[in-house]
Every structure is written in C-alpha cells, then in structure tokens.
Symmetry: C2
C-alpha cells in the first residue's frame, strides 16, 4: 500500500511516512515513532528522518516538540497556498487579450479608511489612481489604488501605459510585505458604470495594503466583474 518504495532520500521517506499517517496507522494526536526508530526501519540515518519529519511538520501534518516526540496533528486545519494572480497574466492565460485604461490619476487626500489602513495621518497626500482592466475589450476588473509618494517618489512620473501600476510597483519595490482581505461588495453607481453591470450586483473584491520596511507603499481595492472566481487547492 506504500505510495512507492523509494531509495533512502529524505523526501522518499517523507512520502512513506505521510502515506502511513494518511493510511491511519496512527490515530489523530497519537505519538508516532521517534527519529531513531524510523531510521532503523528505513535503514537510513537519523538526519534523513529528521529532514523528512521537519518537512511534514512544516506542512502541518505532524506536530513536534523537543522531548515530547512527534505526533499526528490532532485537528488538521485546512490551509492553502494562495497565489495572488497578476491580472494581466490571469487574463492572458485564459487566452484573452489584456489591456488597461487609466480613468483617473491625481494627487489628493485619501478617504479616512484608506489613510487608516495605510497607517498614515489624515493629512498625508497620496497619489490616487483608477484603472479599468479589460479582457478582450470587456471590463474585467476595476481598481482604485493609492500610492504613497514619499515611499515611492518615482511613481508620480511613471509611464503606466505599457506596464500596469501593479507590475511597476512590484518591479520597483519588490519584497514588500502586506495584508490582504477578500470580501463581497454591491456595485455602487460608479462601479456599475465602469464594469458595465447593474447597480447592486455582487462583486468579488480584494483589498491589499503593502509596506516596505515599515513604510506604506500602496493600498488597492480591486473589484472583479461578476462571474469571477478565485480558485486554489488545499
């Protein structure tokens, strides 16, 4: 019933142990054999078993404690690696031609909730950008973005016709960390007009705030046209 009888590679052993766990050899929360025991079973060194078990712990399959041993994780909480898609790639990989139109671009005071999410004072001016993303000429998503010109001084003169603001920022300020929320909103009049849908339509929405070393970079609110799904595997 083993998935495959591999050589004594660390991920061969990882898969072997995973199969035994999934196969129900041990109950949830139960202690599984120690590294030395596995090493003997698979005739490999303890280091190799260690790497295998560490990988399983990293995945959340098992929990390990010094001296406490390794046990099957009691409640297997589903988790997934979610890739935030780049809109252009998303559209193109669906076989459609991508384009975008900048509807608005100006320097202004942000609304209170935006300033709050970016951890900025109310009187801090930001660059406000509205972009309509199109797939095959049809509205795909509408984006409202605020950028902090203090953190990204070059943004104000950036040429955003060839490359979208999102990709421009990723290129200029990589390795920024951030927070994101997913939610559903009803289309207001402006959104309805932009996306060519009826007011009140349910729109899948993603908000993102990103920082680079404690300095706010950008906040975006992205509304997808109806029918959009964000898929991932768990």
């Amino acid at each position: 019933m083993n998935i495959a009888a591999q050589a004594t590679t660390h991920h061969g052993i990882r898969e072997a142990i995973r199969a035994r766990i999934v196969g129900g050899e041990w109950d949830l929360g139960e202690l599984i054999p120690g590294e030395a025991e596995f090493a003997a079973q698979y005739s490999c060194s303890r280091s190799t078993v260690n790497r295998a078990l560490q990988a399983l712990a990293h995945e959340g399959i098992v929990e390990r404690k010094r001296k406490g041993g390794t046990r099957v994780r009691p409640l297997q909480l589903p988790q997934a690696r979610l890739r935030i898609p780049i809109i252009r790639e998303e559209v193109q990989s669906a076989g459609q031609t991508y384009s975008h139109r900048i509807m608005r671009r100006e320097r202004q005071l942000p609304p209170g909730d935006v300033a709050q999410r970016m951890h900025l004072p109310d009187d801090h001016e930001l660059i406000h950008l509205q972009t309509l993303h199109l797939a095959g000429g049809e509205p795909f998503a509408f984006e409202r973005r605020w950028v902090d010109p203090v953190t990204v001084p070059d943004f104000e003169e950036a040429d955003l016709t060839a490359i979208s603001a999102n990709e421009w920022l990723i290129r200029m300020v990589p390795f920024s960390r951030g927070e994101a929320s997913l939610l559903a909103v009803s289309a207001d009049a402006e959104l309805a007009q932009m996306l060519k849908v009826a007011p009140g339509e349910a729109l899948f929405t993603m908000e993102r705030t990103t920082w680079f070393e404690e300095r706010s970079v950008t906040f975006t609110r992205l509304h997808y046209a109806p029918g959009y799904r964000l898929n991932f595997s768990l």
Copy 2:
C-alpha cells in the same frame, strides 16, 4: 541594518541573506554568491548555507539551478498562506458564542453542477445538509453541503448537534485534499431569509470540494453574512 546578528544557525544565515537581498545588494535576476562563498563570509559550513538558501528558494525569494547558481527571483509574485478558518473558532475568537442549527438533512440527487464538481454521475444519491451558523444568536453563515455516503458511510447517522458537520468530517476523514473557490453571489430569496438580509445583498461565498484518495467526500457552498472579510497576510 541587519535584522539581527545571530550565530551561525541556518535560519540566522537565512535572515542575513534575506536582509541583503531585500536591501538591494543584488539586482532582480542577478546571480548571488555561491554556497562556498557565503560559507566563507559567515564562517560556517557549506551545508548550513545550503539549508538557508534552500529555504529562501522554497519561499520563492531566490531561484536555484544546479551549476547555474542562485539568483534573485526576477518577478516576485505575491503569494500567501491562507488558512481556511473553522467557523466555530472564527466566531469564538471574535469573542462571540457559536451555535448552529441544522435546517435540513436528507438523502437526494444533487443538482447537476454539484455532481459535476464532485466528479460523480448524475444518478448518485448524496446526503444534503443545510446548516445555519450563528454568532451570538445572529446569522453568521449559511452552508449547503453534500456528502457522499459511499465514501463516508457513517455520516448518515452522525450526531451533528454537538459538533458541526465540518468538524465531524475533518475528524473522521482527515488528510483529504481538495479544491476551493472564492466568489461573490447575490442573495436569493432563501439565502436572504436564512441570513436575515435583503434579497440581492452581496454575499462572500466559499465553495469547497474534498477528496480522500480519489473518492469524493463532500462539496460545500458557504455563504457568509454581509460584512464578512477573509483576512490574510502576504
């Protein structure tokens, strides 16, 4: 500017190198020093550097190729680890009391789209369950679930008053893999009544299909009450 000057532990070195990458010491796509070079710089063994760089590669910060060396990843695509919350924990961690009411429970043929998502023929009977999840007595989310009684024969007689179907299934069929989609839907009449909102309201919705070793376990469509946000960090 170093995060911290640790000893020569593999994750000390990992963070040191990460800081140098983030600090812009090398351009995007540029080759960074080899393992031997880093080992010399930090006076540790090549194995230790190897682990550190492998971790960074796993994170997507760098790309490694045998003989090709290690280079900073050209386009840093944002990705996140999304934890699918368990509703009870979600409600309780917000300080509210959780409860649920089973509104419906019967064996029936599923709608075509459900059968399709579970990779089942149209004439395969499933257990259909409708549950209202409440936070502090108020509707929090409404769930329609289909369970395959062939894969999970015990489910039909499961006592779902103390424990929710979701947690029951996680306990009985752990380690199942699956797919999920996030989307926005407008409340139909039934949803509006269940969640006590106006028809047409935008509802954040999660669909999940899970399998255990090629056998379908369950498909759920979960509609959250308005105002819900799924938060995560990137």
